[in-house]
Symmetry: C2
Subunit: 353 residues, 2 copies
Amino acid sequence: MQLDLSRSVAELTAQIVDVESVSGDEQPLADAIGAALADLPHLRLHRDGNAIVARTDFGRAERVVLAGHIDTVPVNDNLPSRQENGLLYGCGSCDMKSGVAVQLRLAAGLASAIRDVTYVFYDCEEVEAERNGLLRLSRNRPDLLTGDFAILLEPSGGVVEGGCQGTLRADVVARGERAHSARSWLGRNAIHSAGGILDVLRAYEPRQPLVDGLSYHEGLNAVGIRGGVAGNVIPDECTVSVNFRFAPDRSPDQAAEHVRSVFDGFEVHVTDVAGGARPGLGQPAAASFVAAVGGQPRAKLGWTDVARFDALGIPAVNYGPGDPQLAHTRNEHVPVSQIEECEQRMLAWLTMV
Amino acid sequence: MQLDLSRSVAELTAQIVDVESVSGDEQPLADAIGAALADLPHLRLHRDGNAIVARTDFGRAERVVLAGHIDTVPVNDNLPSRQENGLLYGCGSCDMKSGVAVQLRLAAGLASAIRDVTYVFYDCEEVEAERNGLLRLSRNRPDLLTGDFAILLEPSGGVVEGGCQGTLRADVVARGERAHSARSWLGRNAIHSAGGILDVLRAYEPRQPLVDGLSYHEGLNAVGIRGGVAGNVIPDECTVSVNFRFAPDRSPDQAAEHVRSVFDGFEVHVTDVAGGARPGLGQPAAASFVAAVGGQPRAKLGWTDVARFDALGIPAVNYGPGDPQLAHTRNEHVPVSQIEECEQRMLAWLTMV
């Protein structure tokens, strides 16, 4: 697989979408990105697992980080890509291979700029935080991630999205007692008891708080359920995996406490938590970028690695092509015009004084 | 592993329990049974997969079939066996390796009898009907199963249990629409919708009908549940596997119709059904056996291969050591005295005029 960075950003997006890269299987795409950037004299290339970092060394006073993940959620009968009426369809087209295509076009095309740029392409963003490639990079090579400001090219509808919501995963467990299913009244059916967990989820009323002037929207959902021993056994355990998306006015600890109290009476095991980030658009670097690209900033609802840059002390925002509401849907797509507009605005911000 | 058929029936039971034989993994135990019976001159041995059939050829007018399955449900931290206060504990001790031990003792010890005997040891009784070793035998070698009367040594508390309930398995499916879990309100959560399936199960009132004078007890239970795409995706499908145990006054078709109507509004896929058998204790062969072993017959609640013999036109009853209510429980055990009593009564019935 050879990426052609001289093609239009839309054609390049289609090419990248067609290299399947579900989380954990990013190697073919990482190899292709590494190969495409390998011979460019203005970039210093580094690889860590399936993450690629390409840095300019123009000697500028300011360094910005442009970052994007190269993995996708599982393919849902939506590959290969196809273009129709100015829209590019396909798994990852919106989240976020169009942003990755913009990064690649800029990385290849900008042999000079008014800011030094660090391009980061990383793996395993769509799975539990511990596997996240940017987290791994921040542990293995924090020196590669330094910068004055970071932009994540996550889908944001072409406007700047501030902050992000946190995400917490927990296993909520209902227990029972095994028995032969021919004499079910001698046991206690844990799957039936898990109905109580689903009752809580069905009745849950999520908050929609204002934080630093932007409006967030929480959500508490089952993302997995499993239970059962054998076809003739009353099961003694049923586990519901829930995902709590929480506004950045809660800390990870507060989010965990909330989930525990909501499922009072059941065992709750928090398996994964990543805090959100407050919008922080008042910070100078963020404010200048917002002014340059224009538009009305809004709250980022999905968790993004903005939170990780925030934790590293680097101001960061989300800005990329694609409607975030289409991310992870089978119908995922991105308007070609938004990919082009994103490329042009980033190009202008990196080259024009 | 070498079985010693000269040891007491309780010691032999313990030895058999200690040869793990969860459905699908019966080969070591089938091998051991085959080896233990191989050199007995009064038996003709046949093997079909992990099923063993041993037949006498005494030239008697009547032939009886003594049958037992050698598989167990999954081990539940209840191996190896142990004996305490006259009770033998361990996976399969009750359902039904104590019955298998009685069969083996009789097969080895009875070089002559007033009835010809066919001993059947078979695999995969604890899983879906299509894998059942007795079904396979009835297709591959129906000639080996002929007889005037059959006794299944399933646990029946040492009294004759008549007929059996049918069992039906179905997948009940809730559907939804995928979305990113950060914007869950754009999708429809299939796991939350499956709460409606669990509501039905929690509210279900099972019948307890009288059939031919014996009292049955139905049950409708979830035995498995699964759903989920990824930790950040609102799932579009959740499947609840249910097991319906139905009294023998319903046919398999009527049972399927009942389950479909109970889950009206959800997709229902019947995956497995095995009809029950009416008690039939009025038939002469059954009545003579009941008179010989004594006690008050009662209804068999669990499905057993009595129904399969019934379908082959062979009258059959359940009679074996162990409390059927302990089958498939972690605490499964059998009183040593019941194993001995079963062996003695069977021996008397097979040898005394």
